[in-house]
Symmetry: C2
Subunit: 294 residues, 2 copies
DNA sequence: ACCATTATCTGACATTAGTCAGATAAATAG
DNA sequence: CTATTTATCTGACTAATGTCAGATAATGGT
């Protein structure tokens, strides 16, 4: 990382947090304690939440949250009732008065946003918005964390299901799990396999697997990226992580197969240095076979 | 302002303040109360400040600041001594230990900045940095406030001095104030004239004047933008503001004269709808004369 | 020398934020 | 049915943040 790059990020942080940080701070609280204001704002976005979820989302202590809720309840801004299906959890929602309070925060946020745009010329404004969209995308990309995880967790299964559903939709003639070259979570238990999961703020948004073929050869499988985060270069990062795992495991060659309709995948494999090679398995869904020395 | 534009700004705010707002929050405080941490960080950037200035910059109550400083002093991080020229004001500076503490904050900031860049590919990284630079410029532009102010305040005089110095440097043969078409602060007292000043976070960064020629005609003079903020469209905004003042004052025509070396000004005048016209004064420094109906 | 002003400090508060160890009640596993 | 787990609440704290009304001392103007 070049010092100059870091300096640019820090300059940006200073400028932006002066302008936008103010937005998050007590300026927006409209005379209410910041904690209560945050709670109301959050409820406006996700009304009818469970206290349990709120605690996680806002990172609050359970005792603290309990008192905040009590205070808002006393002010007539929220209503709390036990969830019907599990009477331990309590569900919280805004009252009409609470919704009115939320609208104030919402309007204030709008005002702050438009006060940023208002002094600018039309062309400056559109450049600002374009740059904001770009940064938003890239910051999302940077927030995605990739790690080796068990392939049989709920999150992992969710990704694999989404992957199967997608290729079933896209492959000519669909896809059935019991076909050739299968993969089950047991194939991803070291040292015979590994599974990596990508998360964006906790939510699973992509995956990939590495399966041992022999002592020096691994196979990359099940690389999938959620539509929510496509175009952020995540597939490339997942591949990179799998290659890194492979090197650590002592593999010298990586292979993979792919179906002809997955053209974007072919382009990625070539870009990453994979070369087309002869058929190395009898996967009926495969039309191309690649390999790379790592 | 289009709703969609406001929504984009707010999306950006959410994304960025999650990532960067964390940077400002207690995460950076390194176990110290946030107030103390902010103070140390500020002192690292502007060592040897007066308490008075600090109070303004950080927006703190004088009693509160006094206690914060006392606490840092007890920890051996800062030294406070009366200012030699005015023994009421107290000057505060970091000790060696304080500077070491500051360096920790500085490093942590660097780490956070590079953790944002690190997961990105080279091309994503350069796109992110470019977008950040763009936003920084435009947010600075949006933070500039223009208002009618007395022409004889210290800030106003400073701008005018800078203006005179600059045209003296640029005009062929220099510029002397006692030459033709003069302007003195008295010419900017309504209803015979107005003076507008542009400020970026309190600092004067540009100015412009409007002088009455007759009941229906005004003259625009002394439009100047600090080199610090050139390229942000400020001259255009100053002109716009002067035109607005002119309309409110009942003027129907605006005139202005200009020297041939100020080519960027000519382009601006034409862009804003000013048309070249015949000489209307005997200003020896003027080569072109413009006017516009407002 | 006198008075108003300015910069800071101090005491006395109030509020907000946050933590932690139980207590309670509902759900769930065995 | 019992033991354990889970979600929440309560009491008892501490620390941090912030406010306000004087007190104090230096300065500047007259």
């Amino acid at each position: 990382m070049v010092d100059q790059e870091i300096a640019q990020v820090r300059r940006f942080n200073r400028t932006v947090s002066q302008r936008i940080g103010a937005l998050e701070g007590s300026y927006l609280a409209l005379g209410r304690p910041l904690g209560e204001a945050r709670l109301i704002f959050e409820l406006g976005l996700a009304d009818g939440s469970d206290l349990r979820d709120l605690r996680g989302r806002l990172g609050l202590d359970s005792g603290y949250l309990s008192r905040l809720v009590r205070s808002l309840e006393a002010q007539g801004l929220v209503e709390v009732r036990p969830a019907p299906e599990d009477k331990r959890v309590r569900r919280i929602g805004l009252t009409d008065a609470g919704r009115a309070a939320w609208r104030q925060y919402d309007e204030r946020s709008d005002q702050l946003a438009s006060s940023l745009l208002e002094p600018l010329t039309v062309s400056q404004r559109s450049r600002l918005l374009a740059a904001m969209a770009e940064i938003e995308r890239l910051v999302r990309a940077a927030n995605i964390e990739i790690g080796v995880e068990p392939a049989d967790s709920a999150d992992s299964r969710e990704c694999l299901e989404a992957y199967y559903a997608e290729i079933d939709r896209r492959f000519e003639g669909g896809f059935a799990l019991d076909g050739g070259n299968p993969f089950d979570p047991g194939d991803a238990i070291p040292p015979s396999g590994w599974f990596v999961l990508a998360r964006l703020q906790g939510e699973a948004v992509g995956c990939g697997a590495l399966k041992r073929l022999d002592v020096r050869t691994g196979e990359i499988k099940r690389v999938w990226v959620s539509p929510k985060v496509r175009g952020l270069g995540l597939a490339e990062r997942i591949m990179g992580r799998l290659e890194c795992v492979a090197r650590n495991a002592g593999f010298t060659t990586l292979k993979l197969d792919t179906n002809r309709v997955l053209t974007e995948a072919h382009a990625l494999y070539r870009k990453l240095g994979y070369r087309e090679t002869e058929r190395y398995n009898d996967n009926p869904y495969a039309h191309f076979w690649f390999e790379k020395a790592v």
